[in-house]
């Protein structure tokens, strides 16, 4: 089954990994039932959101250098409109977890994530952020950032080349496109009241 409306320029739907996830996601949304007006409105918002994702400048180690390469002239993530890197977590939409997160850093990362404004996304870049990478067996390394914050996209590599990161960014754009913005905000409100 092909999910409509998730188009990324110059990329075919079949070229992406893990389409099943998006299909399940869309089915879930359909079951909840969204009316047409809200749907269209939500689509416009999602178009805006998916095309303007501002990353937080956050890098702990090696992957940070490749992240710089993504920002530099060769790969140039400005083409996607992602180049407005914000240094303040309040203004950022996505946090690229570039590099190893160790025990001492874990609460700091958690706090940074909490400081970001909703809707926010997390991309785990590199083996370290996905599962501890080369330092898996260490006494002081977190085995994947998903232990402390929810991760939306995993970009494997050690470090991933800039194009791989661009690919991960497009995957995140696709995910944003299928989300229902209003349902999202309700969820976050609910989440907050629970706290």
């Amino acid at each position: 089954m092909e999910v409509k409306d998730i188009r990324i320029r110059n990329m075919k739907y079949e070229d992406f990994n893990d389409n099943e996830y998006l299909e399940n996601y869309v089915n879930e949304l359909k079951e909840n039932g969204v009316n047409v007006f809200v749907g269209t409105f939500s689509d416009i918002i999602n178009w805006g959101r998916s095309n303007s994702v501002w990353p937080l400048t956050f890098a702990t180690s090696c992957c940070g250098i490749e992240f710089m390469c993504v920002g530099a002239a060769r790969a140039d993530f400005a083409r996607f409109g992602w180049e407005v890197t914000r240094n303040s977590p309040r203004q950022a939409d996505v946090i690229f977890v570039c590099g190893t997160i160790v025990h001492k850093m874990a609460p700091v990362l958690k706090r940074l994530y909490d400081q970001m404004a909703e809707p926010k996304y997390v991309i785990a870049v590199g083996s370290c952020a996905i599962g501890g990478g080369p330092f898996k067996k260490s006494y002081h390394v977190l085995k994947g950032v998903d232990e402390i914050i929810p991760v939306d996209v995993y970009v494997p590599g050690c470090p991933p080349r800039p194009e791989a990161m661009l690919y991960g960014m497009m995957q995140l754009s696709r995910k944003i496109k299928v989300q229902n913005f209003f349902a999202l905000s309700e969820k976050s409100v609910k989440h907050k009241s629970e706290k």
Binding site: E66, C69, A73, R74, H103, K104, A106, L112, V141
Partner: protein, 541 residues
Amino acid sequence: METLEKRLSTLEYVSVENEDDRTTVTVAPEKVLELAKILRYEEKYDFLFDIVGMDYGDEGFGVIYYLSQTENPARLTAVKTRTGSREKNELDSVCEIWESANVYEREVYDFFGIIFINHPDLRRIFLRTDWNGYPLRKDYDFESNSIPVHNELIPDMETSHSVYMHEGHEEDVTRSLFDSNEYVVNFGPQHPAMHGVLHLRVSIEGEEVKNIDPNFGYIHRGIEKLCESYTYPQILHLVDRLDYLSGTMNRHAVCLCCEKALGLEVPPRAQYVRTIIDELTRIASHLLGWGCMCMDMGSITAFVYGMRDREKIMDIFEETAGGRLMPNYNIIGGIARDINPNFIRRVKEFIPYMRKMLKEHHILFTGNPIATGRMKKIGYLSKERAITTGATGPSSRASGWSNDLRKIKPYSAYDKVDFDEVLRTGGDTFDRYIIRLDEIEQSLRIIEQLIDNIPEGAFAAKTGAIIRLPKGEFIQRVENARGQFGVHIASEGGKTPYRVKFRSPSLVLVNALKEIVPRHKIADLIMIGASLDYVIPCIDR
């Protein structure tokens, strides 16, 4: 060397061993301070290269001090001591003699729990204050710590902890780092200009920095402990990720160390290629350092230009070695695979391109009056301070201290090439800035001389499937993009090392901030940090 032996032979409590490139002095723990004073003030051992903590099991803990003289920098002298039993874990601090011992001793305290008496500031350096146990001890329990949920509460007025000997018995003394009326600002761990996750607590008055306290450990991955469970070829991949900007050079150090221990003869082809790859990495690292320095000054365009030129080097690496940032190219015995047929052509194209771009970079940034105004006469580090703080590499060569290992003690193909060690005398931020661009030029010269003369032949020496180092302690130093990188391997003869210690050139550079920064502006703090060009993951290991 004779003078040293003569002098030491008068002391009863030491025993001296001479090997071909280093002297080992063994001393009883009580006499360390006395010997250190003799070495420092009588024998002019003014550069403390590293302090290595050791866990000898039932024989207690040990510490190895690696010392060197600026007059005779090629030779390292190791001073070894061991406490004798596990219960005894106290030693005299040598902080007052060598400034750099401050951080090294804190590190040994953090990892082994060895208490240095009279150390002015004996806090944990990498691990959290609430961490249980000392991880590099052999009996460390891996389960004793869980993932912390809450931020480490570091009060602004954090106290430093010292142990003093007072009338024969120990006395704990705590001192406050900052006054209660100081305005303390946290730079980091997440800060765009901290080049990683360094945490600086800075007390400021208006725009002026009064006091500064670096806090490390936000990327401490425990690589040294990990190495103890890995085989030698596996260690190489951790070493790459220490200082990722000079990864190949660090790897080179470990390869050289293992080859020295094994007595392997590396084929000349591999030596040449290793040298070229090292120099390319150095150029890439300096370009990134230059770019980041410009970016910290607010000139993002210069950063993008630096990255643009760096991509050319990344292409060369990718084509030949198969990785961009982590080429994984040096292996024990040589290089992982032969060079790509396009390698020589690409490198030859790169040299004139880089020369042209260097000129542009100079026009764009070096001549800019705003930039020179921000860099000149800012952040002065004198030669004497550079030596005693242990700051090596371009940052100290800007102060006039000649310490380039490629000249002092050539390894691989460095003795076959003609190049200059760039030295400047200003010692300020501008000199540290310009020295990097000049070193790029020298690296290009080295590559130019080597690229046409790569000898034919095998690219790697034959090694067994399983590499076992003979019993003993081995040390190897190389010059990486930030200074002298050292690797100390203690082997028991097995597949895995007994203890591995890396000497990070960046650690002492950050420590030097404490000396340089006070009485400068906040903007200067960022500039000085950028000009020292430290890499945090290398510090934290």
